[in-house]
């Protein structure tokens, strides 16, 4: 029996010809990542355990993105801990204010992560980089500390669910509608401990931004990782960007999957995940009586250039409805700069939205858009758990940038009809 794409990458990093589901392995890591919330805990563990140096200063990435520019004194102290650690260990991929972006938008953009990599990150959405044909998974701070010290991590080789993708998305849909639809089908633990391997004829019709968004939310189905095959779109994206030579892996023809789920992109409709779980998906068209107070367009899920473009196409020349706060957060400084250069930034302001520098801020209820009790937000973020964006009695509806921007114009959940 052959190996899945994930299993092949893991075998190569464990120095083995073959691995099988359930096997425990120790794998070499290409990148170890942390952010301003998880790194301080890792630094503490790293120091407490008596490690003196990181395994490779070019293979550790520390991105300050959750609470920066620092939201308060305590957050400033956490950033300081990260900064001092990065400085004392000469960490080359340290991203501070002015250079930073939301980690999972930033690292692919900057070519820090590439195809064939084995990556761990102390952030659950580290699974994003599977879009590039890498094995990438979220871990905790202790795993980050061990990874920084040794360049290795232990894994249980996952089994996989295959998603056979066909067709082409309607114009008012994006990768977000695809992954929300899948989570709605299989549930928030539908892929627990497993890989989600996306394949099929329809993959070529998904842009890199769509793929990054789809893999980003694999964790919301409980998955260990999500992964796309490498094709021309991947190669074009990586070209001139990857700082290391990409390595291309593909699943064996006789690879074993626990099951195969067919997804026809042509049949996808704009969907919204209702409170308080990402699996509570419903067609946006059925939710037109839901009034919102706030709209957030951004995050590691949907803060990329195509997301900004979708928001621009819908908001340009129009006005955000009275009483609606519309917050737009480009994912990286480069994306922000593009928004300025292309005139989208002005269009957002003229529409009555605010635009922030990159931050995870409101997605996790940190700052920059906290909800009061009883308030409702439609957001392009990734979680709608109880209290996720603020007060325990507030509500988050998850949607695509198209649906969120269309909703900003009406104040009620609105399916985007024209793009």
């Amino acid at each position: 029996m052959g190996m899945t794409m994930t299993q092949k990458i893991l075998a190569a990093h464990a120095g083995l010809d073959k691995v099988e589901a359930g096997q425990l392995i120790s794998a070499d890591l290409d990148i170890v990542l942390g952010n301003d919330i998880t790194t301080p805990v890792a630094v503490n563990e790293f120091n407490k355990a008596g490690f003196n140096s990181v395994f490779d200063k070019d293979r550790v990435a520390i991105v300050l993105d959750h609470f920066v520019p620092n939201k308060d004194i305590k957050a400033a102290e956490q950033s300081k801990t990260c900064r001092e650690f990065a400085c004392s260990h000469c960490v080359s991929h340290f991203y501070d204010v002015g250079k930073m972006g939301i980690e999972h938008a930033l690292l692919p953009e900057q070519g820090v992560v590439t195809a064939g990599d084995c990556i761990i990150g102390a952030d659950s959405h580290t699974c994003t980089y599977g879009a590039l044909g890498a094995f990438s998974t979220g871990v905790g701070s202790t795993d980050m500390a061990a990874g920084m010290a040794t360049g290795k991590a232990w894994f249980k080789v996952p089994s996989a669910i295959k998603f056979n993708i066909t067709g082409k998305l309607p114009k008012n849909c994006s990768g977000k509608d695809v992954i929300l639809t899948i989570i709605g089908m299989i549930g928030v633990d539908g892929a627990l401990y497993k890989s989600m391997e996306f394949t099929g004829d329809g993959v070529k019709n998904l842009s890199m931004d769509d793929r990054l968004c789809i893999c980003n939310m694999a964790i919301e189905a409980g998955a260990k990782n999500g992964i796309f095959p490498v094709d021309e779109i991947t190669k074009e994206y990586l070209s001139g960007r990857s700082e290391r030579e990409p390595k291309f892996f593909e699943a064996d023809a006789d690879a074993e999957y626990e099951k195969t789920i067919d997804i026809n992109l042509s049949e996808i409709v704009p969907v919204v995940a209702c409170p308080h779980l990402p699996e509570n998906t419903r067609p946006a068209s059925e939710l037109s009586d839901i009034k919102v107070d706030q709209v957030v367009i951004g995050s590691c899920t949907n803060g990329r250039l195509e997301d900004m473009e979708a928001a621009y196409n819908i908001l340009n020349g129009k006005k955000v409805a009275d009483g609606i706060r519309c917050i737009i957060i480009p994912g990286t400084m480069q994306i922000l700069r593009e928004c300025v250069e292309r005139g989208w930034y002005i269009a957002f302001i003229d529409a009555g939205a605010v635009v922030s520098t990159p931050t995870c801020g409101p997605c996790l209820g940190g700052y920059m858009g906290i909800l009061a009790s009883g308030e409702r937000c439609i957001a392009t973020t990734n979680r709608n758990f109880v209290g996720r964006m603020g007060h325990v009695d507030s509500e988050v509806y998850l949607a695509s940038p198209h649906t969120a921007a269309a909703t900003a114009l009406t104040g009620y959940i609105t399916e985007c009809k024209e793009v």
């Binding site: 301080p40 305590k74 061990a146």
Partner: protein
């Protein structure tokens, strides 16, 4: 090793945002964070928990964010262990890595009620409900993971490995 205490019962899909809300994550100090453990779904948990008490929950406990602060606050509250029908994978890893005992046992998680008194033996995986008299057996950990737990966490096990050559 074992623990004995009263049960706090929780539903399916308890996420790390309710175990420790992100609004408090501007500090890595476990004692300060622990004051807010479970606050958004059980605001009296911190007040009512005693050393050795046991959390019992449904499927997919600890889903969502990778924050290690979640198992850390549960441990810092002196909770003896968490029993669930299943755990989200990052929480599972983190709990082992920091030395918070967790056990997967569907039947126990289904039948044990809030307030019951239980005794849990981590070495054998035997869960005794002292209130009803019923006994359950949880899945044992694979030896590799047992070694991490025995060493007192991942980093200690790595150090031990180094020392052993």
């Amino acid at each position: 090793m074992n623990t004995e205490g009263k049960v706090f019962k929780y539903p399916d899909n308890v996420d790390t945002d309710v175990i420790i809300p992100a609004r408090y994550l501007n500090t890595p100090d476990a004692n300060e964070l622990a004051l807010h453990c479970m606050e958004d779904i059980d605001k009296d948990f911190v007040k009512n928990v005693s050393e050795g008490d046991v959390m019992v929950a449904g499927w997919n406990f600890g889903c969502g964010s990778s924050r290690e602060h979640a198992p850390l606050v549960i441990k810092t509250c002196k909770t003896g262990c968490v029993i669930a029908k299943s755990f989200a994978r990052i929480f599972y890893r983190n709990a082992i890595n920091i030395g918070l005992p967790i056990l997967e046992c569907e039947e126990a998680a289904e039948e044990i009620n809030a307030g019951d008194k239980v005794n849990v033996d981590f070495d054998t995986g035997i869960i005794k409900n002292l209130t009803t008299g019923k006994e359950y057996k949880a899945q044992p950990f694979p030896p590799f993971i047992q070694n991490i737990i025995k060493c007192g966490g991942l980093l200690k096990s790595l150090k031990e490995g180094e020392n052993n050559g």
